[in-house]
Amino acid sequence: MSTHEISITVNGKEYKRTVDSRLHLADFLRQELGLTGTHIGCEHGVCGACTVLVDGASARSCLMLAVQADERRVETIESVASPDGTLHPIQAALSQHHGLQCGYCTPGVVMTLVELQRECGSEPITEEEIRRALSGNLCRCTGYQGMVDAALAVLPKAHTKV
């Protein structure tokens, strides 16, 4: 067992903590920082509920140690809406298009779609590409159609490729 002094920027704020080597990033966010928006589903990298962005790239936070995030920039669901509570367009679209029911998987879904939105920029994206991006987030409620509709409503000039 080893412990490590780490310094992580989470949602724009720098945190210094001493952590056990085996503490994974999801537990660090939830237990050390109280950021319980990141949900833990399977804890072995299958469900995608714990998806966060690390240096801008989506990652499963149950498969990453907190110590691996030392000196990195982490974004969680808590950073997505405006501080005044105004929903991000992706969140608003998910709500409008019934892209969530129980909501357990939703933080992971939102982080995946935020990454997708940043990556595609002004490039048009197809429904197929959206479905591929969402394939890493398991949802047992919605059947995904609402999520796809929400993404199609927000992402630039999305169209279906036959």
Partner: protein, 291 residues
């Protein structure tokens, strides 16, 4: 669902990592963590020491050389997937990565990690098998090359010595007028494949196959080359009849199975996927006018 206790090491250079490998007992190398971390969370694997290669920049690179594409072991699957260089110089890698995991896992998962983990359903070992990739491994004693054919030691096991680290994968030059395809069947897209087929087909100036490389995943504990099919294809005219004959041969090869997917089912998949992969690879070879 939490890993057991271990000591974490984050060497900054390969030399530091090799020193640690030479001195520590029960140490595991951590690459992207997309296979090892689940096994540690399940406590299937309980190393005393974890040596994280993620802080060693010299292990992540894509090098275009006259001898072919060389890829650093810690290059992420996502970086390879998005590389225009890879698509041009080694398109089978791009084809294969389309099927690998999810964006969240490809962002962190590495080529070296996947090849060393040697999951029978993983795409990158099958790709390395088809391309006769050469593994460059390092230890305190120096470096050595291991051809992929000699790299797997068995189910989920490589032939790396306990003090060795895979540092680079050499894919060799892409054959002239060659096209490739990676076809697999999984219950859900991006899920673990039941059977996968990687094919590289080179054509002569006309319509005759001059070279065929076909590898299969999911029919044995390690990736296998379909050498009898390769030999049959060489020198023959590429047409639908030939692909059907190749498919029948692939489906007749011995396959291992389990309770979920019996050997006969895997054999049938190997046949269909071979036919699909050949059809696509030949179409691409015909379209490829440059090397």
């Amino acid at each position: 669902m939490k890993p057991s206790a271990f000591t974490y090491h984050a060497p900054k250079t390969l030399d530091e990592a090799l020193d640690l490998m030479a001195t520590l007992d029960n140490a595991r190398v951590l690459a992207g963590g997309q296979s090892l971390m689940p096994m540690m969370n399940y406590r299937v694997v309980q190393p005393e020491h974890l040596i994280d290669l993620g802080r060693i920049p010299e292990l992540a690179f894509l090098d275009d050389t006259p001898e072919g594409l060389k890829v650093g072991a810690m290059t992420t699957q996502r970086a390879i997937e998005r590389s225009a260089l890879v698509r041009r110089r080694c398109p089978l890698l791009t084809d294969a990565l389309f099927h690998v995991g999810h964006q969240q896992t490809r962002n962190r998962g590495t080529i070296g990690g996947s090849i060393c983990h040697l999951d029978p359903s993983a795409e990158l070992p099958v790709t390395a098998c088809a391309l006769d990739a050469v593994m460059m491994v390092a230890s305190k004693a120096g470096r050595r090359k291991i051809p992929f054919a000699e790299f797997p030691a068995g189910y989920l096991a490589s032939s790396l010595e306990p003090d060795e680290i895979l540092v680079q994968i050499d894919f060799g030059p892409w054959p002239n007028r060659a096209g490739s395809a990676f076809e697999e069947y999984a219950v859900r897209p991006a899920d673990f494949a039941i059977v996968s087929i990687a094919a590289v087909i080179a054509m002569d100036g006309g319509d005759i196959i001059s070279e065929a490389r076909i590898a299969a995943g999911g029919i044995a504990a390690v990736p296998v080359r379909l050498t009898t099919v390769e030999t049959m294809l060489k020198g023959r005219r590429a047409d639908a009849d030939l692909f059907e004959r190749a498919a029948a041969m692939a489906a007749a090869l011995p396959a291992e199975g389990d309770d979920n997917n019996r050997p006969e089912y895997r054999q049938e998949l190997a046949g269909h996927l071979t036919q699909r992969a050949l059809t696509k690879a030949v179409r691409r070879a015909r379209a490829r006018t440059f090397t």
